[in-house]
Every structure is written in structure tokens, then in C-alpha cells.
């Protein structure tokens, strides 16, 4: 785990309690995957609870898909252990593990009907035909595709194909459902719709689910917990709210949502200096450092009259429908800052490019990360 430079909410404590309560489904210890000299996964530790919906989130190449494929046994790890429901599956091939998987490409068998696709894993269990037919009908009803048995995948839309893939993966009642970017091949509208459907289905069936995605909105909307990954290691594990409100590292802060970063000098454990101004902020452990990065979300920045806060100049204003995005330059340090302001408040302030006004940075919204800004 990376060191947390800012305090965590009490939620971190309930984590362990909940684990004990619901029981572990999957336990990963020191998982490492190397491709030649390249380390795709560097000693990942992770515990996933029974019935939980977990998202692996990160930029492309961060190792999230590699981690998923290692859990499935499709790309065995170089070192480390995977334990599923108390059974060590580290060295087992995919056939001997208990999971269903849905791929970004759907990977439906094009020459088989929807029925045969869904029944593909059932046939192998030598169930009798009547029971297979019942089960397939039940699964198709579950994904809202009742009556499509005789169609071929090519006759279905992308969203429908993905739902067939989901039904096929769930057919054998796996203990673990793996979703590898299941929505990224779909267009935006279908994606949002299917997102809700998958989440509702997962909650209804209670099947432990891991989804890989690079879309933070998707992760925030669907996951019980998010695992943020970067460069083959885990940056932070937490609920969507924790990840958004208390990002454990500058990377997470920058990757999730939009974030302002300002270069500051720490001043004791509860304050910092921005230019000559001294600001209070939550406890941090950059106290001894010369430099630090102050992070604040645009929607947390408050604008006010000229004489009240830090003085700043309005550079440009973008109209984004529900709110305005205001680009500012701090008068004293020349640093850039973005603020999201409700349209009503903007009118009250008489916001216009070139105007000078005051900026308030509420101390409860501030987070401090060590180091200087990495300049590109």
C-alpha cells in the first residue's frame, strides 16, 4: 500500500469489520507478472468479499487486465498466490477455476444461435435437454432477451450481444463473474443503460463480480469498491466516495474527476503557505518537506468579493449547461486555478473575463501531497 499522506475517513476502519462479516471470496497475495524485463504487476495484494462488485480502474497499461487474466488463469502469474473461497487456485488452469467471463469483444460464437451460445457450458454438464431449455429461458429473461433463442449473434445489436455474453457467463452459476471492459465497445447511450442493468442484475444474484474498466464514471457508478491501479501496482482501494473525496495519492486525485493542483510550502502539520498567505488545512505529513502539492476539486473552490479571499483574475468562462467552468489566475503567485460555479452564483458575482475577485479554498476540501508538480 502506498503511504497515505492525508488522513482517511473512519470508513477505512469499517473495512476490516465488513470483511470478517461477509467472508472473503478472493484473496490475492504478492501477485507478480513479468513479461521479459517488463513488470506488468508488481506484488499486488487484494482481498475481495463475497458478493462484492469491485472495479479495477486505471489508465491503459496499468495492469488491470493482466490482473483479471491472472485471476482467470488465462495468463498465469510469475509469482504470488490466489485463493478463492479458501482454495488455492494459483496453479490451476482456467478450466479448473470457478468463474464466468465476459469480454469486450463479446466473443459470442457466430455460428451458434443465442440458445446454443447460452447453453454452451450447460451441455457439457450433461444436463437433460428439458432442464437446459428451462435454464436458458430463465437466463434470457434475466437479461431481457426472452424469445431471442433462435437468432444468431450477428442479428443482434451490440448491447444485446453483450447481454447474451453475460447470460452465457452466468449460465453455469459461477462463484465469480469477471467483466473485461464489457461496455467499452458500445455507444454512449447503450453503455449507460446497460451499466444500470448489469449493476441491478449483480445485486439481485449476489454474485461476486470484478470489472475492469478505464472509464472512471463507469467505476464510480457501478462499484461497491474501486481498485485504482497504476504501473502495475495498486494506488488505492476504497468505495467510490472515498476514492473521490480522499484520494490517497496525487495520481488518484488527478485520475478521478478533475482536480486543481497548486504548488505550496507546508507550514507545520496543520497549515501551509500559498505565496505569502498562510492557510489552515487538515492534518498532513508533509510537515518537514520544502514543497508540496495542494489539491482541491473545482466544485469546492468558492468565489467571493475581491477583498475576502485570495485575489484572482478571471481568464475565461466555459458554459457547461448545469454550471460554469471558470479559469482563474491567482494574482500573487500567478498559478492557474479552475472553479465550477453554479450559474445563479455567477450572476450574483457579475462574473466576466478580466474581472478581479476573491477565491476561498475551504480547508476541509484541501488535500496535500508530497513533492513538486511533475512538469511535462
Amino acid at each position: 500500500m502506498p503511504t497515505l499522506t492525508a488522513p482517511l475517513s473512519p470508513a477505512a476502519g469499517t473495512d476490516r469489520a465488513a470483511v470478517a462479516e461477509a467472508g472473503l471470496h478472493l484473496e490475492i497475495r504478492g501477485l507478480t507478472k513479468r513479461f521479459g524485463p517488463f513488470t506488468a504487476l508488481g506484488g499486488v495484494d487484494l482481498a475481495i468479499r463475497e458478493g462484492e462488485f469491485v472495479c479495477f480502474l486505471g489508465p491503459s497499461g496499468c495492469g488491470k487486465t493482466t490482473l483479471l487474466r491472472a485471476i482467470a488463469g488465462l495468463a498465469p502469474q510469475s509469482a504470488g498466490r490466489i485463493v478463492q473461497r479458501g482454495r488455492d487456485i494459483s496453479r490451476l488452469p482456467p478450466q479448473a477455476r470457478d468463474f464466468g467471463i465476459v469480454f469486450q469483444s463479446y466473443a459470442l460464437f457466430p455460428n451458434l444461435t443465442v440458445f446454443d451460445n447460452v447453453a454452451y457450458g450447460l451441455r457439457n454438464r450433461r444436463d437433460d435437454r428439458g432442464r437446459i431449455r428451462e435454464r436458458v429461458a430463465e437466463l434470457l429473461a434475466l437479461v431481457d432477451l426472452a424469445g431471442s433463442e433462435a437468432k444468431y449473434p450477428a442479428a443482434l445489436s451490440g448491447g444485446q450481444q453483450q447481454r447474451v455474453a453475460l447470460a452465457r457467463a452466468l449460465a453455469t452459476e459461477p462463484g465469480l463473474l469477471l467483466l473485461d471492459e464489457p461496455l467499452s465497445a458500445l455507444d454512449a447511450r447503450v453503455r449507460v443503460h446497460l451499466r444500470g442493468q448489469i449493476k441491478a442484475l449483480q445485486a439481485r444474484l449476489g454474485v461476486t463480480t470484478i470489472m475492469v474498466t478505464h472509464d472512471q464514471e463507469e467505476a464510480l457508478a457501478m462499484a461497491d469498491r474501486i481498485v485504482v491501479m497504476n504501473h502495475g501496482t495498486i494506488e488505492q482501494v476504497g468505495t467510490p466516495a472515498e476514492i473521490y473525496r480522499q484520494p490517497a495519492s496525487a495520481f488518484v486525485a488527478e485520475f478521478i474527476g478533475s482536480m486543481n493542483f497548486l504548488e505550496v510550502r507546508p507550514d507545520g502539520a496543520h497549515a501551509l503557505r500559498l505565496g505569502r498567505r498562510r492557510l489552515d488545512c487538515p492534518a498532513h505529513d508533509c510537515a518537514g518537506d520544502e514543497h508540496a502539492r495542494l489539491a482541491i476539486r473545482p466544485e469546492a473552490v468558492k468565489l467571493c468579493a475581491m477583498n475576502e479571499g485570495l485575489s484572482a483574475r478571471v481568464e475565461h468562462i466555459e458554459f457547461l449547461g448545469a454550471f460554469l467552468r471558470v479559469g482563474l489566475t491567482l494574482a500573487e503567485t500567478g498559478q492557474a486555478l479552475v472553479a465550477d460555479i453554479a450559474v445563479r452564483d455567477a450572476e450574483a458575482l457579475g462574473l466576466a473575463p478580466g474581472a478581479s475577485l476573491g477565491v476561498l479554498l475551504p480547508s476541509e476540501a484541501l488535500r496535500l501531497y508530497p513533492g513538486r508538480e511533475a512538469r511535462a
Binding site: 477455476r97 469480454f103 469483444s105 460464437f109 449460465a171 453455469t172
Partner: protein
């Protein structure tokens, strides 16, 4: 460890991994026994004297000191280079006509252009003798030169190799990106400059690859020079003469090693080019469509029709010659040349043997090669083994038929070889033909397999379905068009090939293509033509059957292939 998890999965699973490994090892054994060991024994033979003692490079030294043999190298190179220049030039123009003009009758021309592949390379040589030989109708056109020799060889090669070149170049030229031409036009580029800066560079790799394929085919072909070469000897006929004529196996091995060199060189160059040819065409490319331009369209149409007419003339001559009483004196029609029984060459039995061989190779070869390609392409683990297999699968392309056939004699006819019993059976002909034409089938399989979703196997595994079930229920049906292509390719080649099998048949397993050669040697020219025509029509029938079958299958599969 396994005992700790008494789930049903873990037991058959080790079985499944084992099956996969055994299958991979079987594929390896096939190519090692069918290719590597024979080639190795040939190399060894070239370093031995008649008594079987090691003599180092003495045989090669003797070869270099024999002017008659050294001359063949120059002859082979000359003929192959001229053929390459002619075929590539002509095929490029025709391919350009097909892909880049609106010439009428493209489909008809493309069908005509495939015909030479269906005939043994002996057929054009026989026809050329009828057309330009001593009693030929167009003898005067040669201005006193004899058709027996380099002229005949080059003409025969051109006929026989043209379809191969046309296919490669049509593919190379049909990958075009309209956006490049539009950009050029918007910049006011003249057409000829567009051709030089867009069309040619785009087809560059196709052209080089085509030139090497044509050169290899020309330098290794045996059928054409055998019939029409006369006193003009080339490497391929030298191998035959040394082994069959003079029973000098050591010198045969030496010539084979020398024949192997240009083929190996062109193989290496081709591989190198293929590696450099990364997808030039992005998925977003817009295919270029020609717009009508009467002068250009008709110029190319005339050229293509002239080529088509020449192809028809050559095939037609063979058919006609096989049907007339006594060319050119008694042109009344007869079927008596098809009564092979009284003549040399084994009669109709040889045709039945060819059928048996062709069907066996098509059936066994298709399944074996496609399954092996699947193992190589879609397994994980055993990386070294799979790479080695891929290399071995590519190698047959570099081994001329004459060389492979002779190598089989050396390896399988060795006293003490446990596989000695294969020698003289139809089985060895099947194995030899399968290995001889392995590479193209392997590449076709790999291309088809690469188009499949890479996750099919993963899905099957996650649903606990054994890999062979997924292979049978999904991979094979989805790849059926490619599988059919492979089987017909194997059938036609097994029907028409002479070079490798000429060393391996026995009186019981004589083949139709070999019979053509023997009938010709014995002076029954009309019957030789008749047998060649018979082979041609057999191949044609199978090709048409395949077209009908693919059409039927595609119609049936229309539902899932083109729905939506």
C-alpha cells in the same frame, strides 16, 4: 496438491493439457520425419561416395569440374530470370486491369486465369510442341528457332506460373486507400505521378514477394523442361537424369543441394519482406473505386483477353490434340488415345491411383494442417515448441519437389529405418505430397484463425468445455471456407504434381502425372496429351464442386455470417 481439490475439474484437466502436449508433439514428429530427417539424409548422401564412405566435398568438386553439369546452373538461372521478368510484368498489367480499371468481363478473365493451375506443368509443354513443334501450326512464328529448348521452357513456365503471380498481385493492388488518391488529386498531382508515388509503393512488397515466388517456381519446375527442354538441361532435369538415368545418387544429391540454394535464398528474402510488411492499410482506409475511362478500360481489356485467349489456346490445343487421329495429317476425331491400357504409363489404373492420392491428401492433409495451425496459433505455453513448429511449417515452401522426392528415397529406403515399410506404398506418396504443399495450407489456416476472436478458447475454458469441443463446434465451422480452399488446393496439387512423386511411385502406385511423362517419353504424344487433359478436367470438376459447395454452405451460413 491436486488431492486437496476434489472438484471434478482438476482431474480431466490434467488430461486436457496432456492431450494438447501430445498433439503438439505429434505435429512435430510429422514434420521431423516428413521433412527434416529426409533432408538431413540427403545432405549426408551428398558428402559420401558410392560405397557410403565420407568424402567431404569431393562430389561437389567433381560437379564443378563437369562442364555439362555446371552449364545447367547458367541455363536454369537464365530461364528462371527471363520467365520471372515476363510473368511479373504481364501479371502486374493484368492485375492492374482487374483492380484499377472498369474493364468489362473481369469475372470471366479471372476464371480463365485460374485454369493453368488445374493442369500439370506437363500440359503446356505438350501443347507448345503441338503448336510450335516440327509439325506445329505456328512453327514459322519462331523464325527458324526450335521450340525444344529455352524458348519452349520459358513459354511453358509463363503459362503455368501466371496464375500464381496474378493472385499475389491482385491481392497487393486491391488494398488501396482512396483517401490518398483524393489527397493527391486535391494537390493537383498528375495521374502518372500518383501511380509512381502511391500505387507502386503500396504494391512494393507484393511485387517483390511475387518475383521471388515466380523465380522459385521457375527454377524448380521439372515438368516443362522434361517435355520440351530437348538438349537444354536445367538443374531439375539434371537431378532426374543423375538418379533415374545414371543411378548416380550421390551426384543427384549434390545437384539437389545446389537446387535448394536459390529456393532457400528466395525463401529467406520472402520471410524478411513479410516481416517488414506491417499492415499498410489501416482499418479506416476507404477502398478506392475506379471510375470509367473508355480508352484505359479497353486497352486493359484487350490485353487481358489476349492473355485469356492464349490460355484457352494452350488448353484447347491439348484437348484437340488428344482427340484427333494423327496430328496434323489426319484430323478426324477419335477417343482411341484415351485407351491407355495397351501403352506405357500404367493405363487408367494410374488415374485411379492419382484420385486415391488426391482424395487422401485432401482429407488427411486438410485436417492435420488446419488442426496443427490451430495448435500453434491458439495454445498458450510451450512457446519454443510452437515457434519451432511454425518454422518447420514454413520450410516446405523452400524445398523444391525434386529435392524432397529424392530426400525421401535416401531416408525411407535406408536399410534399418523402422519406417522402411512405407517405401513403395501409397502412404509415402500421401506423406510426401502433404509435406510438399504444407506451407501454403498452413498460412491459409493461420490467416483464417487470426480473424477469429482471440477469446473463443478462453470462453470455452471458463465454461469448462474441453478445447477439442470448442474446436469442433466453433473454430472448424467458422473457418469452413478456408478449410475448403485448403482441401481443394491439396487435391489439385496432388493431382498435378510430378516433381516429388517421380522418385517414389512403384508399378502399383503409378500416378497419372507420371504416366503423362512416360507416355511422352515412349512417343505416344496424343495419349500423353489425353492423360494431361484427363488430369485437367478432374481438377476442374473438383474445383467446380468446391465452388458449388462453398456457395451452398455460404447460403446456409448466410444467416449467421451476414445477418444484421
Amino acid at each position: 496438491m491436486r488431492v486437496a481439490f476434489p472438484m471434478d475439474g482438476s482431474r480431466w484437466l490434467s488430461g486436457e493439457a496432456l492431450v494438447r502436449l501430445v498433439a503438439l508433439l505429434a505435429a512435430l514428429a510429422l514434420l521431423v520425419v516428413g521433412l527434416l530427417f529426409p533432408l538431413a539424409s540427403m545432405l549426408v548422401k551428398s558428402l559420401q561416395d558410392r560405397a557410403g564412405d565420407f568424402v567431404g566435398l569431393a562430389n561437389f568438386a567433381r560437379y564443378v569440374q563437369t562442364p555439362a553439369l555446371m552449364g545447367s546452373i547458367v541455363n536454369s538461372l537464365t530461364v528462371a530470370l527471363i520467365s520471372t521478368a515476363l510473368v511479373v510484368g504481364l501479371a502486374f498489367l493484368c492485375a492492374y486491369g482487374i483492380t484499377r480499371t472498369c474493364m468489362p468481363g473481369k469475372r470471366l478473365f479471372r476464371m480463365l486465369a485460374v485454369l493453368p493451375i488445374l493442369a500439370p506443368s506437363l500440359l503446356p509443354a505438350i501443347s507448345l510442341v503441338y503448336l510450335f513443334g516440327n509439325q506445329g501450326w505456328f512453327r514459322e512464328a519462331l523464325l527458324g528457332q526450335s521450340i525444344y529448348g529455352p524458348i519452349g521452357i520459358v513459354l511453358g513456365m509463363c503459362f503455368w506460373i501466371f496464375p500464381h503471380a496474378l493472385m499475389i498481385l491482385t491481392t497487393a493492388l486491391s488494398t488501396s486507400d482512396a483517401r490518398l488518391y483524393e489527397a493527391a488529386e486535391a494537390l493537383g498531382t498528375p495521374k502518372w505521378r500518383g501511380f509512381l508515388t502511391i500505387t507502386l509503393p503500396g504494391a512494393r512488397y507484393g511485387l517483390i514477394s511475387c518475383a521471388f515466388v515466380v523465380f522459385t517456381l521457375a527454377i524448380t519446375d521439372f515438368g516443362v523442361p522434361k517435355i520440351i527442354g530437348g538438349q537444354f538441361s536445367v538443374l531439375a532435369t539434371d537431378v532426374y537424369r543423375q538418379v533415374v538415368g545414371q543411378q548416380n545418387f550421390q551426384m543427384g544429391a549434390v545437384v539437389s543441394v545446389i537446387l535448394l540454394l536459390p529456393a532457400l535464398a528466395s525463401f529467406v528474402v520472402d520471410r524478411w519482406i513479410q516481416r517488414r510488411q506491417v499492415a499498410q492499410l489501416s482499418a479506416r482506409a476507404v477502398p478506392w473505386r475506379p471510375t470509367p475511362s473508355p480508352l484505359r478500360d479497353w486497352t486493359f481489356a484487350l490485353l487481358c483477353y489476349a492473355v485469356g485467349a492464349a490460355i484457352l489456346l494452350v488448353i484447347g490445343t491439348a484437348i484437340y490434340a488428344s482427340l484427333v487421329q494423327f496430328w496434323p495429317y489426319d484430323l478426324s476425331l477419335t477417343l482411341e488415345h484415351y485407351a491407355f491400357e495397351m501403352l506405357a504409363g500404367g493405363g487408367w489404373a494410374s488415374w485411379f491411383n492419382s484420385l486415391k492420392l488426391a482424395f487422401s491428401v485432401a482429407l488427411i492433409g486438410t485436417l492435420v494442417i488446419f488442426f496443427n495451425a490451430w495448435l500453434i496459433e491458439k495454445s498458450d505455453g510451450y512457446r519454443v515448441l510452437r515457434q519451432g513448429l511454425h518454422f518447420l511449417a514454413m520450410l516446405p515452401m523452400a524445398v523444391p519437389g525434386m529435392v524432397l522426392g529424392l530426400a525421401y528415397i535416401f531416408f525411407f529406403n535406408q536399410a534399418g529405418n523402422p519406417l522402411n515399410w512405407l517405401y513403395g506404398t501409397l502412404a509415402i506418396l500421401v506423406l510426401n505430397t502433404l509435406v510438399h504443399f504444407y506451407t501454403v495450407c498452413h498460412l491459409t489456416s493461420v490467416t483464417a484463425l487470426k480473424q477469429l476472436d482471440p477469446e473463443f478458447e478462453a470462453v470455452g475454458a471458463s465454461l469448462k468445455v474441453p478445447f477439442w469441443v470448442t474446436f469442433r463446434r466453433v473454430t472448424l465451422p467458422v473457418s469452413l471456407p478456408a478449410v475448403l480452399d485448403i482441401s481443394v488446393y491439396l487435391f489439385v496439387n496432388a493431382m498435378t504434381t510430378v516433381s516429388a512423386v517421380v522418385f517414389l511411385y512403384t508399378s502399383d502406385t503409378r500416378l497419372a502425372s507420371v504416366a503423362v511423362m512416360h507416355l511422352d517419353e515412349a512417343g505416344y504424344f496424343a495419349s500423353a496429351a489425353a492423360m494431361a487433359v484427363l488430369i485437367f478436367f478432374t481438377s476442374l470438376a473438383v474445383k467446380l464442386a468446391q465452388a458449388a459447395l462453398s456457395h451452398l454452405l455460404l447460403n446456409r451460413a448466410q444467416e449467421w455470417r451476414q445477418a444484421g
